[in-house]
Amino acid sequence: MGVSLSLIHIVGICFFSVSVEQIKNLHKRFEQLSGNEETISRENLENIPALANNPIRRQIIGAFFDKRNQHQNEVGSFEEIGFEQFLMVMSHFRPPTLKTTEEERETMRKEKLRFLFNMHDTDNDGTITLEEYRKAVEELLSKSGAIGQEAAKAIADAAMLEVASTNVPHMAPDDFYEGITFEHFEQILKGLKKESRLGDQPLEGVVLVKECLCCCCF
């Protein structure tokens, strides 16, 4: 792995703005997950015990194997991924450093939103339909039992209605709102951007290295 790792270093630093330190740590983790193999499969990720409590586990794992997140304009999904693809997905969540400019931050934010959008848009038609949204909310409430499932439909409907009302305020009774496009998606999540100015959650990302924990509270 020695030679290919240094290539990845270069690629990583140039394209992903991930530091050498971060790449080394991620590589170690990759080897741990894959059992020293070259690729990891879905089972490897599913076996992570901490993920068991996460309601959207399936979608997160699915996102790693989604070709759309590799920025190569392909669709479909992989069976297994190598370290490069793993790093590519992780790079969506690199935290901005002290040197990131405002534009770069904007691009990063858009990448994250695109990642989220892909998670919802399972049939890859460029819009999130009501069915897909319902499924997403159901997954979110999947750990909450029966109450969750009943309310999920109502919540998804209300949310969809809100998106439609904000983005296309005047619709005749017979018009049909096809689904949430990426632009509408960005629009409704504008409010979250303001939150990220206040503190550093939730859009600023994950701390990939053992940086000071108090960084996240300041």
Binding site: I56, I60, S165, H170, P173, F176, G205, C215
Partner: protein
């Protein structure tokens, strides 16, 4: 700003309950303040009584006194009467300021109130009376301060606070210590100069100066709240300055006690300094712990109050007050205890108590804190007139200048360090506002008042200086901060409400980031937050929240709260005539639901169809009439009929349009709309919980249709699907259906040219029918 919380309609049914609460509280208040008030009256009355008795004894033998028909005994009621007078004065002042619109926009309320206090104090002095020691420290710390702090703590926005807690702590702890030592030290240095011309200033000791510095350096939450509330700056700055003013109480308490203790001795050793640091940790953490314990007790108690809803608010207030008093008993930070208590108990208590109790708590807290704040500022004015004063130009001016300089240097220096750790940096504008917003207030004055005159020879001078600094910050900084904020174009508070989409995606992102952290193998911020949430859900909520709500996920709770708010807005906006939502739109559920192709029914196609415009008119008329009748008719039919109108084909509507026209003219006479709004669990709970009689709902049966009223967009053309109501009129089932369709029209499916013209004529007549009057039963509340 507080008057917007007063909404008379909400008080309707709960007035007797609130009256009871108010009575109890007033009794408590008077009982506690009585010994603090003018102490002379009880003795006088006792003497009077004994004197009268003696006279009576002697009088038996002497001539009979005339029986007093009307007697004035002022001393009997003097103390509570005076207290009530002060409170009344404060409230009338608040009313008065808002009647003069121009004044309240230029001058902040706090300034006006101080001026009123000055006037009142002046009047009393002119009248020759002794000015009552209104800003007595015990009265201040035990009665006037707690409501304001509780109000702030209960409604503290936790998320922004926690996200910036590092910055806030830096400003509160390091900033205050820096201020205290800088001001104290430099004051001492200044007082020592001019050796050739020895003045009284030379006798001040270093420790006294440091004590003075620590009193004057603390940013005051009351003043900050009063001023910042009117300028509406963005949440970040607000929480920074306000959070700092709350958390610096611990520092102030420690420094104050430290210097008071050792001022007598004269020296402070390193050991004492070290003990001071330990003491600070004890005071701060101890205060928080005491508050948290009482908060959990309150949450636990609220779990069992489902049968005695009336006293729920009382638990909240009493537990919080006891937390404050307990902390003060151990010389811990009472303010931090109160904040911790409010913040800890709030999520659990709100899940347990009824909607009315929630409103009561909110109103009472706002009312008390408002009155307290007003009184504090008035008393500041009165106490200024009272004195005692000892003016010394050097001391006072140097103090004012040093305070400003220390604050600016402190903020700039600390921000430089803090920005290394923040990803979202504090800009120069932010720093300026933080520095400029460091107002001093009544806490400093009260602390100064507490000093012992014998121990501190320069107490009077200290008090004068403190008052001058307070006046300077409140008047000069308070008045100019608003125009400065405008001038610097500081970001204002975003009024946008949190939408359901934002809530969904915040949760989604939290889970996503936690998942990514788990895959990374890194135990970061999200991992611990997630663990805390799961612990909360699994153990704490089960313990502290009654019944089913302990299992309610946060998203669903948010959704129900939103539904409830929209329902209330719907009512307050006049029953759906005005669109309550921020973005007026004509989008409805119909636009979103995937359309199913209408099943082809050849026979019905032969029906003549009303032109679309006509259909719209008809719908509009029906809708407006129905909404007027709904309020009147709601109360006597609680049966819900269950079916989803949207899942039936729209072609059915076309079939029944015929009947609709015929029924329409008879609608005013006997149309009943059997519908309760869809009962989300919140509203169900609200209804059932507050009223002891539970309404029994008709059991749902499959074949019975229902109207789903979509509260999310009340203006949608299909929010009341009138067609289906009339369609149901034709069905043979009669379960709970109050509609009596005219016998002739049921089953009449025969269209024809003649019918069409007749229909149109009938329609014209209907359009001219005024319908039921809208002002009947307008006062009947929409929600019970």
């Amino acid at each position: 700003t507080f008057h917007k919380y007063l909404d008379p309609s909400g008080f309707g049914k709960s007035l007797p309950e609130q009256g009871l609460l108010l009575l109890v509280v007033l009794v408590l208040l008077e009982g506690s303040v009585l010994p603090l008030g003018a102490a002379s009256s009880p003795d006088v009355s006792h003497q009077d009584d004994s004197h009268n008795h003696k006279v009576a004894d002697h009088g038996v033998n002497a001539t009979k006194k005339v029986f007093p028909v009307l007697d004035v005994d002022y001393h009997h009621i003097q103390t509570p009467f005076e207290i009530s007078l002060w409170v009344l004065l404060a409230s009338l002042m608040k009313l008065g300021f808002h009647l003069i619109p121009r004044l309240s926009s230029i001058v902040p309320e706090s300034c006006l109130l101080i001026v009123v206090g000055l006037l009142v104090g002046g009047l009393i002095k002119l009248a020759g009376e002794q000015v009552p020691p209104v800003l007595d420290s015990r009265l201040f710390f035990l009665c006037l301060l707690p409501p304001i702090i509780l109000d702030a703590g209960y409604f503290l926005p936790i998320r922004p606070f926690m996200e910036n807690v590092g910055t806030i702590l830096m400003f509160a702890v390091v900033g205050t210590v820096w201020n205290a030592f800088f001001v104290g030290g430099l004051l001492y240095a200044v007082c020592q100069i001019q050796p050739a011309n020895p003045s009284s200033l030379h006798s001040i000791e270093l420790l006294h100066c440091l004590l003075f510095g620590s009193i004057i350096s603390a940013v005051d939450p009351v003043a900050v709240l009063a001023v910042f509330e009117e300028i509406h700056i963005n949440e970040l700055l607000h929480i920074l300055v306000f959070g700092e003013s709350l958390l610096n109480d611990a520092v102030t308490v420690v420094l104050y006690h430290l210097f008071v203790e050792y001022a007598g001795v004269g020296t402070v050793t390193v050991m004492d300094g070290f003990l001071g640091v330990i003491s600070f940790l004890v005071v701060a953490l101890g205060g928080v712990l005491v508050g948290a314990i009482y908060g959990i007790l309150a949450a636990f108690t609220s779990r069992f109050t489902s049968h005695t809803r009336v006293i729920e608010p009382l638990f909240v207030f009493v537990y919080s007050y006891m937390a404050y008093l307990s902390a003060e008993m151990f010389h811990l930070s009472g303010i931090m205890a109160l904040i911790a208590c409010g913040a800890v108990m709030r999520p659990y208590v709100e899940a347990n108590i009824s909607h009315k109790s929630h409103t009561t708590i909110k109103y009472f807290l706002k009312m008390w804190s408002s009155v307290s704040e007003t009184l504090i500022f008035i008393f500041l004015g009165v106490a200024t007139v009272d004195g005692p004063h000892s003016w010394n130009w050097t001391f006072v001016t140097v103090t004012v200048i040093l305070c400003l300089v220390a604050r600016v240097i402190g903020v700039v220096g600390l921000t430089y360090i803090i920005n290394k750790f923040r990803i979202v940096k504090l800009t120069t504008k932010d720093q300026f506002i933080v520095a400029y917003g460091g107002l001093r207030g009544a806490i400093a004055f009260s602390l100064g008042f507490l000093l012992d005159q014998n121990q501190f020879a320069h107490r009077k001078m200290f008090l004068t200086a403190i008052i001058t600094v307070i006046f300077f910050t409140v008047f000069v900084q308070g008045m100019t901060i608003k125009p400065l904020v405008e001038l610097l174009a500081v970001k204002k508070k975003q009024e946008a409400k949190r939408s359901i989409n934002e809530e969904i995606h915040t949760q989604f992102l939290d889970h996503l980031l936690t998942g990514i952290e788990d895959i990374c193998g890194h135990y970061g911020h999200h991992h611990w937050k997630d663990k805390l949430n799961r612990f909360n859900k699994k153990y704490v909520k089960k313990c502290l929240i009654a019944g089913e709500r302990s299992k309610e996920p946060q998203l669903i709770a948010f959704y129900h709260k939103m539904e409830m708010k929209q329902a209330i807005e719907l009512v307050e906006s006049g029953g759906g005539v005005k669109l309550p939502s921020a973005v007026p739109s004509t989008v409805s559920m119909q636009n979103i639901q995937p359309k199913k192709p209408p099943p082809a029914k050849a026979a019905e196609r032969a029906l003549p169809q009303l032109p679309k415009g006509r259909e719209e008119e008809i719908r509009k008329i029906l809708r407006s009439n129905l909404q007027r009748t709904r309020q009147r008719l709601r109360s006597y039919n609680r049966h819900t009929l269950v079916a989803d109108p949207y899942e039936d084909g729209f072609s059915d509507l076309l079939i029944k349009k015929q009947k609709m026209i015929e029924l329409e003219k008879k609608m005013n006479n006997y149309l009943t709309v059997p519908a309760a709004p869809p009962d989300s669990p919140t509203m169900c709970r609200a209804r059932l919980a507050s009223d002891p009689q539970a309404y029994s709902m008709k059991p749902v049966s499959d074949s019975v249709p229902v109207i789903q009223v979509d509260l999310a967009s009340p203006q949608s053309p299909d929010s009341v699907n009138v067609m289906d109501e009339f369609r149901r009129a034709n069905q043979e089932e009669d379960q709970g259906l109050m509609m009596k369709p005219p016998q002739g029209s049921s089953g009449s499916n025969k269209p024809g040219e003649a019918d069409t013209t007749r229909d149109q004529q009938r329609l014209m007549r209907c359009l001219s029918d005024p319908g039921p009057s809208a002002d009947e039963d307008e006062d009947e509340p929409f929600l019970p």
